[in-house]
């Protein structure tokens, strides 16, 4: 074979090539050189993961952050397992933890800094250098600050990668940071209720619930098992295996309900009625822990008086439950006192009004049973000391003075403790009141799917002068961003010390298993360099490794020392208290059965039942929950996880399905009370959901065509949430106040009302129904909430 025979080039081509190389570009691309490495690396498929190099780290497939070991062979991550030294998960990781490798090597990862070169939302990008990207962001931050003031800058953040950049926003003087959807759209009301009742946040990012030692447990609307936080599920299963009784209150037959002794299929929106009736029953029948209540609680006589009217008979009608079942359940719980776990729940933004009260009611029940600081009850955290460096000095992060503050002067007396209300920021963008917000930084949040009413959010984004995001995978936010920064995946970075203060305290660190791919950078590097472009003093340490070492040094540790011990050290726990050394950290020094701080703000000191409006005729309430294989809307594009569970299903009561002639696995569309329609979704016909509600798992139905595998698979609950009610305590936004009916083959099917609604519960008043009906009669298309909202016209701002 003669090499000249390859590709007979014409003289013209030879000349063009010559000119091309003269143009200063090496035609070889300079891509190869003689190998300097020794030959002999054995590439190719291997049998199993045994014998691979192991690095300990911390998972971030969800925020539970299990300690892990990552196994690397030939420079490639081949498997993730739990850290055998971890006291919480040992060698176990969940489906998502196992699939971290697919995130690391996903071809849809954001690989380079990019800037928008088309219209906003069109998704037309060019690669730019880090310097250009950061300069562009810095320029816009300065410009917006100069024109509209520091508070015109806002930052939506979630997760471990968000903290460093938050300090940059703080240094700009804005009050609009820590506006975490994770708080105002999730744990907020529960956290506030526990803080004010028992003096600490017994449920928040972490949950301090001693399930392994409980003799009875109560779960209300919980998704343990479907919501997989490994150690939490383990604690639940340990408790059950040790013989704990279990009462589950849920309009849906959940995985937990499947393991329950008693399942109460309650009418949605009436949980507090049941809880108050139980509290009353416990008091009236002397089932409470008298000594504990007398010594440790205040407000008992007020509570007794306040709940007197709530009888089981009354609750039976409100909640659509049998008196005998309710009685059996509360007796089962009372018998286990004080080792009874009234689970404080987690996601608590259900109905807006009454959410804080519902969680207060759980806390009150715990207190009445003396189940605080004892095995099987709420337990106390064991503070774990580690250092903490301020990357920007505190004095440089002072909030700039403002006439009317979005944060401090909110309509919600308890919001500012936690940050600026997410929904208020969206409102401020749309109305410029109390002041304009014109620039948004987004980090680790899918703001389309996590903030209720994405239509308002979309409107807001279009109004912004500038929006940038720091992300690993392009979500819906990235699609709308002006600058996109590629974030290192959790397996590629140091980002902090992880201290666990629960039943088995430990200290561990996240460390890079491999260097960042492409041009991704660590959150610390990004924040430090953006600060440099903004000429903000700070970020004194060279890199995130130094930061971790700094924080460890405060407790005489270092990364190297920790690694010698298997990447983690365990510490003794102090979760329980004797009656003598039980100290409650509330203002009153007692557990507040009645919360004076609420009364001071003209809010109920003791919860009252406020019925959430019932579904209007023809509609069912939309409820949602978790899928164990996915984390919110973040993992739907993960190749393995998508392959495992590619879409969600609509749970539809079997009797309703029968009447509407809908079969299992049939595809339908949902239309909500405001005429918004969902993507198509398959139906699961089941007796495991009440006739007055439908259910789907959250996070599917992505409208970001960027998430190629997740795009359009299943329906998104978020896009059905156009009716929100704000919780009056802290402004958290409700997510279970939306109603849907079914559209099959283009005709609307009303959901029959099988269970009568008592007069005491008002029905939701439809707002625009008449207008919509007229429009449909006239043959106009209904308002689709599907990909149409992202059609190219609208992407160019044509809404």
């Amino acid at each position: 074979m003669n090499r000249r025979r390859f590709l007979k080039m014409s003289a013209a081509t030879a000349m063009a090539m010559a000119a091309f190389s003269l143009d200063g570009l090496p035609p070889k691309g300079g891509l190869f050189r003689a190998s300097r490495a020794l030959a002999g690396t054995n590439y190719g498929p291997m049998n199993g993961s045994m014998g691979a190099r192991e690095t300990t780290s911390v998972c971030e497939m969800c925020f539970w952050r299990c300690p892990i070991v990552a196994k690397v062979r030939n420079g490639k991550l081949i498997k993730i397992e739990g850290n055998p030294k971890s006291p919480v998960n040992g060698q176990r990781v969940c489906a998502r933890g196992n699939s971290g490798i697919q995130l690391l090597y996903d071809p849809d990862r954001i690989k380079y800094p990019m800037k928008r070169v088309g219209a906003r939302g069109e998704g037309k990008w060019a690669k730019i250098s880090w310097d250009e990207a950061l300069e562009e962001i810095a320029h816009n931050m300065n410009k917006v600050k100069k024109k509209y003031g520091p508070h015109a800058l806002a930052y939506f953040d979630h997760g471990a990668s968000a903290e460093n950049l938050r300090e940059v926003f703080m240094a700009m003087g804005t009050e609009n940071y820590t506006s975490e959807p994770a708080f105002f759209q999730c744990v907020g009301p529960a956290a506030l209720a526990y803080l004010e009742t028992v003096g600490y946040i017994a449920t928040g990012t972490r949950q301090y619930n001693d399930m392994p030692h409980a003799k009875a447990m109560l779960l209300v609307g919980s998704h343990i098992g479907e919501n997989v936080h490994v150690s939490h599920v383990r604690e639940f299963i340990e408790g059950l295996s040790a013989g704990s009784k279990l009462v589950v209150v849920d309009p849906r037959f959940s995985v937990a309900a499947g393991k329950a002794d008693i399942h109460l299929s309650i009418r949605p929106g009436t949980d507090t009625a049941l809880l108050l009736a139980w509290i009353n029953y416990v008091i009236q029948n002397d089932l409470y822990h008298k000594e504990f209540v007398a010594n440790t609680c205040q407000g008992f006589s007020d509570l007794k008086k306040e709940v007197k009217g709530y009888s089981l008979e009354w609750a039976a009608e409100i909640c659509d439950l049998k008196i005998a079942d309710m009685k059996a359940a509360i007796k089962m719980l009372a018998q286990a006192s004080p080792h009874v776990m009234i689970h404080p729940g987690r996601h608590s933004t259900w109905y807006g009004k009454g959410d804080v009260g519902r969680h207060q009611s759980y806390a009150i029940l715990s207190a009445l049973f003396g189940a605080v600081g004892v095995p099987g009850g709420l337990y106390f955290t064991t503070p774990v000391k580690v250092g903490h460096i301020e990357c920007v000095e505190k004095k440089s992060k002072a909030v700039a003075p403002v006439d009317v503050s979005l944060k401090e002067d909110s309509n919600y007396p308890f919001s500012s403790t936690f940050g600026t209300v997410t929904a208020d920021i969206i409102k401020a963008i749309n109305t410029s009141k109390p002041y304009p917000i014109r620039l948004l930084g987004v980090n680790g949040v899918n703001i389309m799917q996590t903030i209720p009413d994405p239509y308002e959010t979309m409107k807001a984004i279009k109004k912004l002068d500038f929006i940038f995001c720091e992300e690993m995978m392009a979500g819906e936010t990235a699609l709308w961003s002006d600058i996109i920064l590629p974030d290192a995946v959790y397996l590629e970075r140091y980002d902090g010390v992880y201290a666990y203060e629960g039943l088995t305290p430990y200290i561990t660190v996240r460390q890079p298993v491999l260097p960042p791919m492409y041009e991704a950078k660590t959150p610390y590097w990004i924040a430090k360099n953006l600060a440099r472009h903004l000429k903000i003093d700070g970020f004194p340490l060279p890199d995130a490794r130094a930061l971790v070492n700094h924080d460890l040094a405060a407790v005489d540790l270092s990364i190297d020392k920790l690694n010698k011990k298997g990447g983690i050290i365990s510490l003794p726990a102090n979760p329980y208290r004797t009656p003598k050394n039980l100290k409650i950290a509330t203002d009153s020094g007692k557990i507040n059965l009645s919360v004076a701080a609420f009364e001071d703000e003209d809010l109920d000191a003791i919860p009252k039942f406020q019925p959430a409006p019932a579904p209007p005729k023809g509609y069912a309430r939309l409820i949602y929950g978790r899928c164990p294989v996915h984390t919110f809307s973040r993992t739907m594009n993960n190749l393995w996880l998508n392959h495992e569970v590619p879409e969600n299903k609509l749970w539809l009561n079997d009797e309703i399905a029968g009447q509407l002639q809908i079969k299992n696995d049939e595809t339908v569309v949902l239309e909500n009370q405001d005429g918004k329609r969902s993507n198509p979704i398959k139906v699961l016909v089941t007796p495991g959901i009440r006739p007055d509600a439908v259910y789907m798992t959250h996070g599917f139905g992505s409208k970001s065509p960027h998430l190629s595998r997740a795009y359009g698979k299943g329906a998104a609950d978020g896009y059905m949430m156009t009716n929100t009610v704000e919780d009056p305590f802290m402004g958290a936004t409700s997510k279970r106040t939306n109603f849907v009916r079914i559209v099959k083959n283009k005709s609307i099917l009303d959901i029959p009302e099988i269970i009568p609604i008592p007069a005491a519960i008002p029905k939701f008043k439809l707002r625009k129904l008449a207008a919509d009906r007229d429009r449909q009669k006239a043959g106009a298309k209904p308002q689709y909430a599907s990909a149409g909202d992202f059609s190219s016209k609208e992407r160019r701002g044509g809404e």
Partner: protein
């Protein structure tokens, strides 16, 4: 002959799919339809004669006493000598490209001699095998290579637990010798196998749980006919 077996305790299982993903990761199985050694099928919520059930069918190769997949293999028969790791005892048998190990009862595949014809996959009443057509033994003119759960034989021989057992977040999977107390006790107290009148291959994966969950599991997942 001693036999490895697995218990899946549905009272502990939450149907989270960690087992299926750990298996995929450990053995680097492409995410294609039907390509898996280990699977989870969530069942229900559905009515049973004992009330509502919402459970799962975590499935894998049953390493049957009388495997239907082994006799159908058309590969050339060869003499193969098996060694018991502990005692060093050996036994020589005539096998095709898949066999039941005489010392641990696991059913294994010789990947270097598999023709990828799919006869074994078709013969299994549990659908536990698949043929990976991305790879093949070219020298044998193969069409692919059959694959299935090995009870993580290489791991187990190295003193580790199977990948699915190790990762199970609820400790719902128990692996060991069928006559070991940790397994035998479960069988004694009522763990069941997915067998029916016509499917009597003697599976060695056992399921334990509430009567309602076992009823839903057997109703939906026990094969009623041999393929």
């Amino acid at each position: 002959m001693r036999q490895y077996a697995m218990i899946i305790d549905l009272n502990r299982c939450v149907g989270c799919h960690a087992c299926a993903l750990a298996c995929r990761a450990e053995w680097d199985i492409p995410a294609q339809d039907g390509y898996r050694r280990n699977w989870v099928k969530n069942l229900g919520p559905a009515k049973t004669s004992h009330g509502l059930s919402f459970t799962a069918y975590p499935g894998l190769c049953n390493h049957c006493d009388k495997p239907a997949c082994v006799p159908v293999c058309p590969a050339d028969q060869i003499k193969k000598t098996f060694t018991e790791p502990k005692t060093g005892k050996t036994r020589t048998m005539t096998v095709a490209a898949t066999w039941k190990n005489p010392f641990d009862g696991t059913v294994q595949i010789d990947k270097t001699r598999c023709l990828g014809c799919g006869a074994c996959a078709d013969a299994c009443p549990y659908g536990a095998r698949y043929v990976n057509t991305n790879i093949a033994n070219k020298d044998l003119d193969g069409d692919g290579i059959a694959d299935k759960c090995t009870f993580c034989k290489p791991r187990v021989e190295a003193g580790l637990r199977p990948a699915c057992v190790q990762t199970c977040i609820a400790d719902a999977r128990i692996f060991g010798w069928r006559d070991e107390p940790k397994i035998a006790d479960y069988i004694k107290k009522g763990a069941i196998r997915l067998s029916s009148a016509k499917v009597q291959t003697g599976p060695n994966v056992y399921y334990y749980g509430q009567p309602k969950d076992l009823e839903l599991l057997t109703k939906t997942s026990t094969p009623q006919e041999m393929p």
